[in-house]
């Protein structure tokens, strides 16, 4: 095979897997938007907070150590034990469920029936609060996250593919990050589970009913407050998964919360209300930006990955505002 073909193939594969990483973040947005019509600005910060909590639990950090030290003049930092990854993940999940409860109890409950823009602003406030609270609780330094997922290039794949190139050409095999492969498998499992849950369980049906019509859902006896806690807890879980994946890639630090920005174009492409849309949107953007950078980037000076996704989203907003899979607004005349 011609090395150009192989290179293109490698770019596409990497693009697909980068796309899955975007989808993971976008998923959290879709869940909350579908169920409550709220665009949850805090989703990215939730991923950061979940990752911080995970690292904190894993390494046995003392929460609020800086605060306690400042007040009492102590020198606390670590408990001196380390939790196995699986326990730390479960613990972080518990924290995210508690977080969902608190959000419902202290924010959403008081904003029932307000304009969407007001709820949106409440989530902006929540994002800033969480950012500061996360720092206060676990410290602002950059942390390394390792839950035992393999990382780095796959030598096996490099060796296998190196032989595919035509004789005499200068080709050393494909580089694929194993972490990305894991992320893909986990994302697929997550989406399958979420889809099954929302299509075939009573609670899932209630979630979709609430997404459609709050008032009618109330009238048939669905408790909105319980549904919101469930939705935010699931979104918290998705944020945790995204936090683990991205945290393992980039390290756990403030910029992790900015991955939310990459989720926006994914949502515009896939539609704000569709779980499959978040996946397909992510894949299109992942492959699109990598291919664009590979094929056209060198001609126009590179760094196209920074803006390609947003340009694509803009085009979609103009020609298909509900996205590829968004709910069509059903209007009877």
């Amino acid at each position: 095979m011609d090395p150009v073909v192989l290179n293109t193939l490698e770019v596409i594969l990497n693009g697909l897997m980068a796309g899955v990483m975007y989808s993971l973040v976008a998923l959290g947005f879709v869940l909350i938007f579908k169920a409550s019509g709220i665009f949850n600005y805090a989703q990215g910060v939730m991923a950061l907070f979940a990752a911080l909590t995970l690292v904190g639990l894993q390494t046995g950090q003392v929460p609020f150590a800086h605060l306690i030290n400042a007040i009492f003049g102590t020198q606390l930092h670590h408990f001196g034990w380390e939790l196995p990854s699986i326990l730390a993940i479960l613990g972080s999940m518990a924290v995210m469920i508690l977080f969902a409860f608190l959000v419902e109890r202290y924010i959403l409950k008081h904003l029932v029936n307000q304009e969407p823009i007001i709820l949106f602003m409440a989530t902006i406030g929540l994002a800033f609060f969480m950012e500061g609270f996360g720092d206060l609780m676990w410290g602002a330094d950059i942390k390394k996250l390792d839950v035992g997922l393999p990382q780095g290039g796959s030598f096996w794949l490099e060796e296998q593919t190196a032989g595919w190139a035509s004789e005499g050409s200068d080709y050393y095999g494909m580089y694929i990050d194993v972490l990305d492969v894991w992320a893909t498998m986990i994302a697929v499992a997550l989406v399958v589970a979420l889809t099954l849950f929302s299509q075939y369980t009573k609670t899932g049906r209630a979630l979709r009913a609430v997404a459609d019509d709050h008032q009618a859902a109330l009238s048939v006896g669905i408790s909105l407050r319980a549904i919101w806690v469930i939705v935010w807890a699931i979104a918290g879980f998705v944020a945790l998964v995204a936090g683990i994946m991205w945290g393992a890639k980039l390290g756990v630090q403030f910029s992790l919360s900015l991955i939310a920005l990459k989720a926006l174009p994914v949502l515009m492409l896939g539609g704000f209300t569709s779980i499959p849309g978040a996946i397909v949107g992510g894949l299109i953007i992942g492959v699109g930006e990598k291919l664009f950078e590979f094929a056209i980037g060198p001609m126009i000076g590179g760094a196209t990955e920074n803006w390609f996704a947003y340009m694509l989203a803009l085009l979609f907003l103009v020609f298909r505002p509900q996205g590829l899979f968004g709910d069509k607004i059903i209007e009877r005349v």
Partner: protein, 272 residues
């Protein structure tokens, strides 16, 4: 049944006032009672307070920033004003809202199944689904289509069917005739009557279509700007000259032509 007072009272509303947004007084002392197994109609024009009365009972007012500030609402002798809608549904009181409010993106069958949200037994739910399909065979034909794409009549059936899935004792039915062809309205009311007679469901229905409502109901209340101005057995209300003139468009000389209406010739007696 016509003289509701003799049978036991299921729902007793006395002298309630409702205020929206802390300032707008919508109900100014409404009292009514619904006997077990009865069909009671709440009549009146736009803005009379019919929907608000129903929502005050079903406690859907809270989510619209409305509040019952005076009076009390008893269901089987128990005060229900502070319960949330889901507790009420479990107690057997469910509201079918004005304008149908089906879940548009769910299929008809999924819509019906959400009605059984408060019920535990899957077996009973399956039985109830069959029962609903025997009353509304049309829904069975459309069970796999998205509710948003069904006709207005089918959506009304879907909304009533969905309420039935909670095995209610009392259904608060708001404007079932809205936007439907006369023949369909007749069909819907026919089903309401059958549900009442065969399943023993009690109905409190708000209607603007006085003519149809008074033919199917046993008892009626007429609301005007937040007050009950007249009530009585449906038969008496049908014969009442004021009701005939103002709500049924009939006068002593038979059907009235709009050409003859210059002004109200007779003052409504109850508005002093």
């Amino acid at each position: 049944m016509l003289d509701g007072a003799k049978t036991d009272t299921l729902l007793d509303v006395s002298n309630i006032e409702v205020i929206y947004n802390h300032v707008i007084l919508v109900l100014k002392g409404v009292s009514l009672s619904v006997p077990k197994g009865g069909i009671v109609a709440l009549l009146g024009g736009n803005g009379a307070g019919k929907t608000t009365t129903l929502k005050a009972i079903s406690n859907l007012l809270h989510s619209e920033r409305g509040e019952v500030t005076k009076g009390r609402i008893l269901y089987k002798g128990e005060p229900i004003a502070d319960l949330n809608p889901s507790t009420l549904v479990k107690m057997g009181v469910i509201q079918v809202m004005e304008g149908r409010h089906c879940f548009q993106h769910l299929t008809v069958e999924e819509n019906l199944l959400t009605g059984a949200y408060t019920r535990k037994s899957a077996k009973e739910t399956a039985e109830d689904l069959e029962l609903v399909y025997t009353y509304f065979p049309r829904l069975k034909e459309r069970r796999k289509s998205q509710a948003g794409y069904t006709s207005g009549g089918e959506q009304q059936m879907c909304a009533i069917g969905r309420a039935l899935m909670s095995r209610p004792e009392t259904i608060l039915l708001d404007e079932p005739s809205m936007g439907l062809a006369p023949q369909l309205v007749e069909q819907i009311f026919e089903i309401v009557k059958r549900l009442n007679e065969e399943q023993g469901v009690t109905f409190l229905l708000a209607e603007q279509n006085t003519n149809v409502a008074l033919r199917y109901a046993h008892y009626g209340y007429i609301l005007e700007s937040g007050r009950v101005v007249m009530d009585g057995p449906a038969k008496d209300l049908r014969e009442n000259p004021d009701v005939k003139e103002f709500y049924l468009g009939m006068s002593d000389k038979g059907r009235k032509s709009f050409r003859d209406v210059r002004s109200y010739r007779r003052r409504k007696r109850w508005l002093s």
